[in-house]
């Protein structure tokens, strides 16, 4: 009996062990399979013939491992595991995704279109501008573009199909303080998914644009009390910032959103993005910088070539574009007439940080063509690629996530069949957040 009991006990223990072993095996298999499937789901391995890193480095015959939307590994060798599916692009060139440091696109399908009278005193053919203009006041620094983004807008798809994986979007140009801009990926299901960083720069417009429409409309129209000219614009700018300077002792809790935004500007927490086309406006921005001491970035600097030394001295980055401007018969009276296609070349020579932008005359799907044109004029390919990727990311303050193909950064890659600055070379694949898209379908 005793022995029998003992045997039973031994058998019980064995049974338990067996069950334990089985459970262990089951868990092991489960974890292994989940590991395998997980790998199949969000991991991507690419072997690329040439990899242009974005900051000037060129690597040959490289393997890139992408997992969960991030770059996990860039290098020559990778431990080959069974079932690892490497996608071969041996004859192709990979670059980081292009970044439009200021994009003009229809971010909303139901965008309010505004007639812009570009030429002074003359009824010029009105241009339908697909920009989001908030006309509640001349100063709306508290508004943010993120709330008006439609992720299904056609222009986003046009953007990534032509290689632009990331854009900076800001409200329109028709008031002095326009609002804060947003850095977005061009593919995603919701604005939150597309978002890279919000409230990047506070956009300010100098020049004649905030004064357009000043003499139109009814007497009680909001447009009636707009600034009429550069004096009025400068007055509004100084007035708004001085008001907040005078409230230095007041705590944040007692300020409204607008004033908090200005305080952040004066504390240099958020840079100003000043849209200044004419040399007069660049001058005004430099003058005001001495007075208030903000950080700023020059946008759409048509006359930037006239102030290269000042821009270099004060370390002001420039967002320039479009590079190509067809000229017919001009009366040299418009702000756009002094555009110089060589500006990118001069900025690069001088060592000023610059990036490309597009505007209403050059659609986002021609972004690469702009850079190609700059290369044809004389900009080196390395500088052009840097301006499209790494420098643009630096200007936008997102160089920790975007701009180069490096470990830990977002997996935004373009794969070209040939040199990216040859118009005849095809954009084969676009990878945004680790997801591969075919732009030619």
């Amino acid at each position: 009996m005793f022995i029998g009991k003992n045997r039973e006990r031994i058998a019980m223990v064995r049974k338990k062990r067996k069950i334990g072993a089985r459970v262990f095996l089951f868990i092991f298999l489960l974890s292994f399979s989940s590991f395998c499937f997980g790998q199949a789901e969000d991991s991507l391995y690419l072997r690329v013939g040439t990899l242009l890193k974005g900051d000037g480095q060129i690597l040959k015959d490289v393997v890139v491992e992408i997992r969960n939307g991030k770059i996990l590994y860039v290098g020559k060798e990778l431990l080959l595991k069974k079932g690892m599916n490497i996608i071969e692009f041996k004859d192709s060139i990979a670059t980081p995704g292009f970044i439009a440091a200021n994009a003009c696109l229809k971010a909303t399908e139901k965008t309010k279109e505004v007639d812009l009278l570009l030429r002074r005193g003359r009824q010029f053919s009105p241009k339908r501008v697909p920009a989001l203009n908030e006309e509640e006041s001349e100063s709306t620094p508290e508004i943010n573009l993120l709330h008006a983004i439609d992720p299904k807008a056609e222009d986003f798809e046009k953007a990534w199909r032509s290689g632009v994986t990331c854009v900076y979007l800001a409200p329109g140009n028709l008031n002095v303080f326009n609002g804060t801009g947003t850095v977005l990926k061009t593919a995603g299901k919701s604005p939150q998914e597309m978002l890279v960083r919000n409230e990047v720069h506070l956009k300010v417009t100098f020049g004649t644009e905030p004064a357009t429409g000043a003499s139109r409309g009814l007497q009680f129209d909001l447009r009636r009390r707009r600034p009429q000219n550069r004096m009025g614009i400068t007055f509004i700018f100084r007035n708004q910032l001085t008001d907040v300077l005078n409230k230095n002792d007041v705590p944040d809790s007692e300020l409204n959103l607008r004033e908090i935004m200005f305080r952040r500007v004066l504390k240099k927490e958020i840079p100003l993005r000043i849209r200044a086309r004419s040399y007069m406006d660049i001058m005004a921005a430099l003058r005001m910088m001495e007075e208030f001491g903000y950080r700023w970035i020059l946008e759409d600097g048509a006359d930037a070539h006239k102030y290269l030394d000042d821009l270099k001295k004060n370390r002001i980055p420039v967002v320039y574009g479009p590079v190509y401007k067809p000229k017919g018969r001009t009366d040299f009276n418009s702000e756009e007439d002094s555009y110089l296609p060589q500006t990118p070349l001069l900025l690069a020579k001088k060592g000023i940080l610059f990036a490309f932008q597009n505007n209403e005359q050059s659609p986002i799907n021609s972004f690469r063509d702009e850079a190609i044109f700059a290369v044809q004029i004389g900009l080196s390919r390395e500088a052009a690629l840097k301006a499209l990727t790494f420098d643009a990311a630096r200007i936008l303050g997102v160089e920790d996530r975007l701009g180069t193909i490096e470990k830990g950064k977002d997996a935004d890659l373009l794969i070209f069949k040939g040199d990216p600055f040859e118009p005849a070379s095809l954009l084969e694949k676009v990878i945004i957040n680790g997801k591969m898209f075919d732009p030619n379908k």
Partner: protein
């Protein structure tokens, strides 16, 4: 005796030389050597030579003997392609469209501004022949003209005065497509009636032809352009925005018996089968990539328009639009068309040289580097269709019309003088 002859001999030779010297000058041949010549019509010739006499190409080949009186220009490492041809260009003037939608009697010659920047740009982009046309917004827009981009006045620039009549079936500013078609049919019917009447009274025509310009009878002014079109003196250049417009325009051309060239909008790739079956002559839109949005699924497709036509076997001409960066010159358009990998470099070159010449009906004059054609060609420093390729010289009728080293616009751009 011996002494006399020895004294006079050199004088006699000198006399003959002086006598025939103008003749030698007249037979002056320019021989141009180049590394490679793309003739377009008969392939590529390595280490080729082109002989030019009196503005025309006398001979082209690899192993030719240089005539003793030839002036030799050696473009050692350079490459020559034919002068480019813009089959349809709505530029070189201020306004493209008349406000009246039915103006077949106007001619673009009155509109061309010979000192317009567009012509300088065209020349520096390698374009040697342009077909200038009225804009797309008028139903019967007027007559176009084929010109070269060099000359102080329009008369100097002229190659062919009446290249065609501009027609648009795609609706003008305030009209539907059915309204446009009804107007066109009415106009053609009236013209036919006018032609029948004119055949009855042949005397009247003589009168009319002898009276110049404004003093002609109003009927003459109103219907003569369309009558010329029906008689086949020139072609209609029909702008079709949508694929269905192509079929309407084709029906109209069949009914009234005139030849037409179709200027396609970007969406017209959908009518590619119809175009291939009827062998229509087409000029593609400057926008070579069409983004089409599915309204239900909200997905966008990117369609390579030139690739679609290539696969259907349609010979197409490309046109450029200097106002759009993605289509700013013909070379750039060709590169863009090549980007999908379907169209080879040779075919792309053909689409900007020989095919436009055939469409315009001037293939005996220009379009390729062949014996007897005008000596219009472009000298490039590298292979064509690269970003770094530069246009060094443009030859127009045997003379250098554009020299990169002397390009003032380019100098202005590069020099430091203009930079503050």
């Amino acid at each position: 005796m011996k002494r006399k002859s020895s004294i006079f001999k050199p004088f006699i030779y000198a006399f003959f030389v002086v006598l025939f010297f103008p003749l030698f000058l007249q037979c002056q041949i320019v021989a141009i050597k180049a590394k490679r010549v793309y003739t377009v019509s008969h392939g590529v010739i390595e280490n080729a030579m082109i002989f030019i006499r009196e503005g025309k190409i006398e001979d082209v080949g690899a192993n030719l003997e240089i005539p003793w009186n030839a002036e030799v220009i050696d473009y050692n490492q350079k490459i020559i392609v034919p002068g480019l041809i813009e089959a349809h260009a709505a530029r070189g003037y201020d306004l493209a469209n008349e406000t009246n939608p039915l103006t077949p009697f106007v001619t673009i010659l009155d509109n061309i501004d010979s000192s317009h920047d567009a012509f300088k740009t065209a020349l520096s982009d390698g374009v040697t022949t342009l077909n200038i046309m009225p804009g797309n917004n008028t139903i019967l827009g007027g007559r176009g003209a084929i010109i070269k981009p060099v000359g102080l006045v329009v008369e100097d620039m002229l190659v062919v005065p009446d290249s065609g009549l501009k027609v648009s079936v795609s609706g003008s500013i305030a009209q539907t497509r059915m309204g446009v078609m009804a107007q066109l049919r009415r106009y053609f019917n009236e013209t036919k009636e006018y032609m029948d009447e004119k055949d009855k009274g042949a005397k009247k025509e003589e009168e009319m032809v002898s009276t110049p310009g404004f003093f002609r009878s109003p009927e003459y002014v109103k219907y003569e352009s369309v009558a010329d079109l029906i008689k086949g003196r020139f072609k209609a250049f029909v702008y079709c925005q949508l694929p269905s417009d192509v079929i309407r325009a084709f029906e109209l051309a069949e009914k009234y018996g005139y030849q037409s060239v179709y200027l396609l909008g970007p969406e017209c790739y959908k009518a590619a089968d119809f175009i291939a079956a009827n062998k229509l002559k087409v000029i593609l839109d400057p926008e070579l990539f069409y983004f089409e949005k599915d309204p239900i699924r909200e997905e966008t497709k990117r369609i390579d328009v030139a690739g679609v036509f290539h696969e259907k076997g349609v010979d197409f001409a490309l046109q450029s639009d200097p106002n759009r960066i993605q289509a700013r010159s013909l070379f750039y358009q060709a590169m863009k068309a090549m980007s999908s990998g379907l169209i080879s470099a040779d075919e792309a070159l053909k689409a900007i040289t020989l095919v436009p010449a055939q469409i315009l009906g001037i293939e005996t004059l220009v379009g390729s580097i062949d014996k007897g054609k005008l000596a219009n060609f472009v000298v490039l420093d590298k292979e064509p269709f690269m970003t770094s390729t530069k246009i060094e010289f443009v030859y127009l009728e045997g003379k250098v019309a554009y020299d990169r080293a002397k390009d003032e616009k380019l100098k202005e751009l590069v020099s430091e003088k203009f930079i503050y």
